[in-house]
Point group: C2
Chain length 246, copies 2
């Protein structure tokens, strides 16, 4: 009986030109496909839940592949990890029915964005956060972000080079919280447009630094006009945190 | 009037063969000396409080140098950082009297050691912690570590290639605590021998995994016999946390 293998994986996106395979550029997808190719001695294609951008990290990306042969007693986690560089780690591997699709079956995703909000830069966290050495009004950022909740046309927060049918998405939950020296944004939604979270964070930070009022943010959110969005926050602070299935 | 400049710095030690300058190997000391050389157009030597090993990180290393010329209105932090790679950051720069010596004036230091104690490996934290996917008895580790407090001959925990007059050091304080998915060891002492903290952590972990009893650890501690020490914990989990002066 044909089946699919579902992988849960974590990666440090620093050295990769994102998830999706590209010619002449290192990507996470290709890195895992190379590892699977060594195990099966033939080309194996994997499908990921989210096409994370260059430099974006994942704490629980989900992917699937159809095993070209049935290998007896294989421990997928160990077998794949032993063929991967240490900046990509398989956390779990499970069998799923052939209907499962890591991308199309996903019903929602959580992203997190880490801001290092202190005066002094950090060598240790440089690839894993956005260093913002300016005072931020967190209460206002929280209020502005609450306007994201619900079903909206998020065109204003979508990269201009994206070609997608609809820019309507639903946001279920947002949160800003402080953890040690970090200020962390959590967003849970039905799906996300290209650079949507980074664009949202960049615009919410405009509120936090009092460049924009909260009602200004609300106007921008509903404008559908990309040129009105704030600057896009850097990729290094963004983490795909989790992907949910029904 | 001659003066010294005291620097506080943070670094990600992953790419460096430790602090101390070596021929044909990248080191943190040399990296900073190259940056100072660009500012002063001549060779400047710096002295560090601690000679951290290959792969060891620093949250607040201290160093000093004698400025070869007096530069008007220089912002040392900005000037040096703009000539450094992003994995080394100057956090503070202050003027000190000529008597100050980052190494010899230090009266105590704090190190931290981070263990990632969970079943699944981490891509994000791979260079910044020791992944130990085994159950650890933290209460016993805490009890064993308490025997370190006081003035002892720590020869058993000193790398065998170290050539030093005395291996007697004083430990003021130790602590194990949990923070998110990490188990962290903090040790505050008058000074530390080569690989002392990593050797202590490796031996305390032997207690934590019930390979050694607490009294076994105590016997080893007082043995002065290097061959009795447990395995040395990997460098990537170690952080120079702070250096104190009178």
């Amino acid at each position: 009986m044909e089946q699919k293998i579902k992988l849960i994986l974590e990666y440090d996106g620093t050295a990769y030109c994102g998830w999706q395979r590209q010619l002449y550029q290192p990507t996470v997808q290709e890195t895992i496909e190379v590892a699977l190719g060594k195990i099966y001695n033939q080309k194996v294609v994997i499908v990921g839940a989210s096409r994370t951008d260059t430099g974006v990290h994942a704490l629980r990306q989900v992917a699937h592949f159809v095993p070209p042969q049935s290998l007896q007693q294989i421990n997928y986690v160990k077998a794949i990890n032993s063929n991967l560089p240490s900046d990509v780690r398989i956390l779990e591997a499970t069998s799923e029915s052939i209907d499962f699709d890591a991308n199309r079956s996903a019903i929602s995703k959580i992203y997190e964005y880490k801001i290092l909000n202190k005066k002094k830069p950090s060598a240790i966290h440089r690839n894993f956060s956005w260093w913002l050495p300016i005072p931020l009004d967190i209460a206002s950022m929280y209020k502005a972000s609450n306007h994201l909740i619900g079903r909206h046309d998020f065109k204003v927060f979508c990269a201009s080079d994206s070609h997608i049918k609809t820019t309507v998405r639903e946001v279920f939950e947002v949160h800003w919280y402080e953890r040690e020296e970090f200020l962390i944004f959590m967003i849970h939604g039905s799906g996300f447009l290209k650079q949507m979270v980074r664009s949202i964070v960049g615009s919410v930070v405009e509120v936090g630094r009092h460049k924009w009022s909260i009602s200004n943010f609300e106007t921008v959110l509903h404008s559908k006009d990309r040129s009105l969005a704030g600057p896009t926050a850097p990729a290094r602070g963004l983490y795909l945190k989790d992907v949910f299935y029904s």
